[in-house]
């Protein structure tokens, strides 16, 4: 019981609105992590630590007990930690990694590609009730945020209470959720050593609605739409760096293998080429984790490319979810004698 009290008091210092009840899940993760570190099962813990603002926690390693003072797990912990396991797999000893249900798909896909070592991972499947998009909150006109409550994992509340320099504001949790959580793959982890915390069904949309809308446009409209989206691209490579499927040691766009090494794009073609090729390279491997769109500083809806491929794959070659299993073949490394001919693209119009 001693540990519990201690943890509560620590947390209480950082946020006066939180209660021990609401922190139960985060505390359990911390306690279990400390336990496993202590008994030598794992050499380090991969989780999230609080950032300089109440809504920007970032991925971090925790190796010593005192490190856990900054450990957080709340609605803003959207970052998919599975990709960090590529590097963690090379380190001595096991790494404890906290994965949300959707992150486990990415981890399993990486396992399939021999990029992560299952034996080097201790997976705690953490519960999730949907992750939050600070941009959405800001878009509601909520500025000058001091602290946010209701974002904690165990909180049943449907609303967020935000303390701002202009006073207290509220908004519905669902309205502040990341787009990807509205089309959540499900609340079950596909791979884990143990799970902590409950997950919530947040799926209330169809992930292909937007794709279909674009498909219905005329070529001119389509072109204009993507021209507008992609002209915002600054080639910061954030999408590539965060993507668990984009795990090449060296990206083709950085090597001379295709004479394609480019640092900055000079005109509209290159953004298209970069994003089309990137989407093509991850086609059949992309789990639709949505990290690319989440991290894009320019707010480009990059998942529209990936989802187009996913939609085509589902329609042409049968329903497929990357990372759902360990079958080695993906839709693009497989075929069926009866597959549609490429002419179908023109036929569908």
């Amino acid at each position: 019981m001693q540990e519990f009290v201690e943890a509560t008091s620590q947390a209480g210092d950082s946020s006066h609105l939180a209660t021990a009840r609401q922190r139960e899940s985060q505390t359990r993760v911390i306690n279990r992590a400390k336990e496993l570190l202590a008994d030598g099962t794992v050499a380090r813990v991969l989780g999230w630590k609080a950032g300089d603002l109440p809504y920007n926690p970032e991925p971090a390693y925790f190796e010593k007990e005192e490190d856990f003072a900054d450990f957080v797990y709340n609605g803003f912990c959207g970052a998919n930690l599975s990709k960090y396991m590529i590097e963690a797999s090379k380190l001595e000893g096991k790494t404890l990694v906290c994965l949300k249900p959707c992150d486990t798909y990415s981890f399993q896909e990486l396992m399939k590609e021999h990029r992560v070592d299952r034996d080097k991972a201790y997976i705690i499947g953490v519960g999730c009730k949907g992750k939050l998009d600070i941009e959405k909150i800001k878009a509601m006109g909520i500025k000058g945020i001091k602290s946010i409550s209701g974002a904690e994992i165990e909180d049943g509340a449907e609303t967020l209470t935000i303390d701002t320099i202009y006073g207290e504001k509220t908004c519905s949790y669902a309205d502040a959720m990341l787009e990807r959580c509205h089309v959540c793959k499900g609340k079950d982890h596909v791979i884990f050593d143990e799970t902590i915390g409950e997950s919530k069904e947040t799926n209330d949309g169809d992930r292909f609605t937007e794709v279909e809308k674009i498909e219905a446009m005329s070529p001119e409209e389509k072109f204009a739409f993507f021209q507008k989206e992609l002209s915002k691209c600054i080639r910061c490579n954030a999408c590539r760096n965060v993507c668990p499927a984009c795990s090449c040691r060296k990206c083709v766009f950085d090597s001379n293998k295709f004479d394609s090494e480019q640092k900055a794009n000079v005109d509209s073609f290159e953004e298209k080429m970069f994003h089309i090729i990137r989407a093509f390279h991850v086609a059949g491997r992309c789990t639709d984790c949505g990290e690319c769109s989440r991290v894009c500083p320019q707010g480009i809806r990059l998942h529209l490319f990936n989802r187009k491929f996913i939609k085509d794959i589902n329609e042409l070659y049968g329903e497929y979810q990357a990372g759902a299993d360990l079958e080695p073949r993906t839709p693009l490394t497989d075929y069926n004698v009866e597959d549609a001919e490429p002419g179908i693209v023109a036929e569908r119009g």
């Binding site: 083709v252 293998k257 490394t333």
Partner: protein
Amino acid sequence: MQRIGVFVCHCGTNIAATVDVKKVAEMALHEPGVVHAEDYAYMCSEAGQELIHKAIKEKHLTGLVVCSCSPRMHETTFRNAAEKAGLNPYMVEIANIREHCSWIHKDIEEATEKAVILMRAAIAKVNLDAPLKPGESHVTKRALVIGGGIAGIQTALDIAEAGYPVDIVEKTPSIGGRMSQLDKTFPTLDCSSCILTPKMGEVNAHPNINIYTYSEVESVSGFVGDFTVEIRRKARSVDMDKCTGCGVCQDKCPSKKTPSEFNRGLGTRSAIYTPFAQAVPNVPVIDRDACIKFKTGKCGICSKVCLAGAIDYDQTDEIVTEKYGAIVVATGFDMIKLDKYDEYAYSQSKDVITSLELERIMNAAGPTGGHLERLSDGKAPKEIVFIQCVGSRCADDRGKSYCSKVCCMYTAKHAMLIRDKYPDVNVTVFYIDVRTPGKNFDEFYRRAVEEYGVNYIKGQVGKVIPQPDGKLLVQGADLLDNKQILKEADMVVLAAAIEPNPDVRKIATMLTASIDTNNFLTEAHAKLRPVESPTAGIFLSGVCQGPKDIPETVSQAGAAAVKAIGLLAKDKLLTNPCTAQSDELLCNGCSQCANVCPYGAITYENKEVNDHGIREIRRLAVVNDALCQGCGACTVTCPSGAMDLQGFSNRQILAEVDAICR
């Protein structure tokens, strides 16, 4: 930087008439890396190759571009020429300015412009070429012959005699093929089965030959020297080891109404049957579609009368898997269907027959016991008309564009045999040309005219008009007399065109062997490599390659055997060096490439790498050069571009794209 020589071939006027070759050579000198350019009438000739040799030596060339015919034609020639001059043969690229340019364009300016662009693409590629060395692969010392006619029999015997094991796969229940259906053979008139049967016996007895009759090739994988073939042995319903070939089952079989394939449907056979008396193996099969036991469950007479207990109704198809170093295709031919030629009334009168049907009628073992008679009423014919070129030499899609080659001679044979045996029968032959190139062939035809009084009329037949009294009125032209002729006949014999066995398309697909518009297998070179398919390790024997008679077929069968023996005699083969190669520093070890490799040529190893000072053990793709065939499927699967194809590298193809779009 490479030092590139560009050689522009005139190909006589084939290229030079449409492409300004001088200008192409001149333009070459403006391209990066090009230090030498010249044009010549025939680059592939001895003199042309000498020019190349000289230029390599004098100008210290490191790469060559030959602007000429298709690389499928002379790439090897020029690579060998380069090698002789000390250049790595893979430093040669061909710009195809004949098949892809001069032969398809008419405007000189346009064709020249295109030739220059094709040349630029080749130069761009050579600039990125690297010397390559072929690897080695092993040879399975066993041959497969597909088809058990005279072509397959001869090929198998010759290979077996050289000491290599051979398997023959034959679709029908017996080997023998078309030749076993023939009565006599030209130009010597000896009996077909008298010369074929001993060979069939020899095949049967040969310790190196194994025959799979009533069997079909199911699948082929692998490559030259190392093919893996699945053979479906169809359920014979008769145990081959137990059967003594006594024939009682066939006599007693109550189902006797199936049209005999061997007699071209002119007679019938029993449900359990051997196609003909001298069949090899002399073991019957049960035609399950005709067998009462299989259709109704009742009967079983054959089983009751078989003293050897060989009948086995429960037999199922069996798949045999075998490895071969060489495969010889000898799938032969059939006659074309005549349903598009009903002006000759083939479907309207029983007395209009094909030449092959006449062979069966003339044969003592045939449906009429060798008596020449009308199939409609059994009467002896007095007037017989032969019509040549039925479906051969046709420009429209009713028939075949080629000359079937054997018809002139067998018709002369038929005419002579009939006149010899039935001197009171008049024989008329309507012909377009009589083609008799062959030893003693024209003499043979002249004998038919001079000694046997066969009436040859130059002109085609327009229509065969069946008369109410059963006679046939033949309306034809006599072009030399400039008359239209109406001739009454009792029998009309059509020299129907021959065509490759329809199954050959399926087989060619399995073998990935090329096939032409007429379904004849394509040879690697029409003149210089006539018994080899362009696909390595596949050889051609008999009519599957083009129309030919028995002597020619036997010659080609021997030639195909020699080529196969030459392959089997090698212990190692040099492999195509244009294989995939993985860049260790870029490889993610993700296994995507191994998923798509059709040859299982990619494996993974944990290897230590030094990545810019960082030493670590990585899981890396390793390509087995002996297994890799160079398709490139892996290269596209690899997102990082680690996997690349030598000789067709990413950068080379991009350079070609750039040169073309420039």
